[in-house]
Subunit: 146 residues, 2 copies
DNA sequence: GTAAACCCTGAGGTTGGCTTGAGAGTCAAC
DNA sequence: GTTGACTCTCAAGCCAACCTCAGGGTTTAC
């Protein structure tokens, strides 16, 4: 039997704050293996694994709700692989979309930047609006008119 | 002199809700040209342009605070191009980072998916945790150990 | 034996961009 | 002259993932 960890020790090992751990508990994502009379929470090593898993899943853009789904299914004694596969497929598709959209936005911004570089500075004494903004707005108006 | 618009008419033309318009006013992003005795707001066509500009800027990931910066500089009679150029450059850099990160995440997820496909389903009667999760956790533990 | 460092609960705050609701006044059409 | 569509203000709620604070109790190290 290994030594149990107090919340602060767990927090250090998993590189999170104690507040985060308590927050996860409120979401039923992580429960202490025991709670002493004085109210202190005690955790085993699995808690560290669990927290690291949560953090890894988060960097992969999984929400706490999705992570909880996985844990819930697991808790019911069912294999979670099907769910995980679905989640992964879904997330990959979402990421693809996001990459496409981000790329499109970047292209648009580069276009604006180029057209901006091609024109002189607006005359400070005669500025109603940045000419770039005018252009953007006109473009939009033309789009609206279609 | 063109006809002034009531808030509902403006909302329709700019494809936003009246609540949004009032919210923007609270942020000083958009003011009515006049306010009647009964409190009704009246807008000119520039308001439509302004709203469309805001929406366009938002799709390009500009925050309302950034958009307000542009309007503020413009209000002071200064050319906003320098600011806009800075913002655009900044945003392009951010987008590049985001695209890189998203791509990295996608690659990682695809790796997980592949390694998942290569193994059989976890035995439902002997499931402590999805083997994929185990693997992720083990990977992380190894990383931690370095 | 005392002071620092830890732990507890519970409530409230943060960020951004809105949305919703209550309660009331106004306007246009028939 | 009334119904229904519009408008107003002010306040609160929503989402996610926490963080912070108040006001305590506990443990540990010296």
């Amino acid at each position: 039997m290994k030594k149990l960890l107090k919340i602060g020790e767990l927090a250090k090992q998993a590189h999170v704050t104690v507040a985060t751990i308590r927050y996860y508990e409120s979401l039923h994502l992580l429960e202490p293996v025991s709670k002493a009379e004085n109210g202190y929470r005690y955790y085993d090593d699995e808690a560290v694994t669990r927290l690291l898993f949560i953090k890894q899943a988060q960097t992969l853009q999984f929400s706490l709700a999705e992570i909880q789904q996985v844990f819930d299914v697991r808790k019911q004694g069912e294999p979670v692989c099907t769910l995980v596969k679905t989640l992964i497929d879904c997330k990959i598709a979402t990421l693809e979309q996001e990459i496409q959209q981000a790329t499109a936005r970047k292209t648009m911004l580069e276009t604006y930047r180029t057209s901006w570089a091609a024109r002189p500075l607006d005359n400070p004494s005669d500025v109603k609006v940045c000419s770039l903004i005018e252009e953007v707005s006109l473009t939009l108006n033309r789009l609206e008119a279609i």
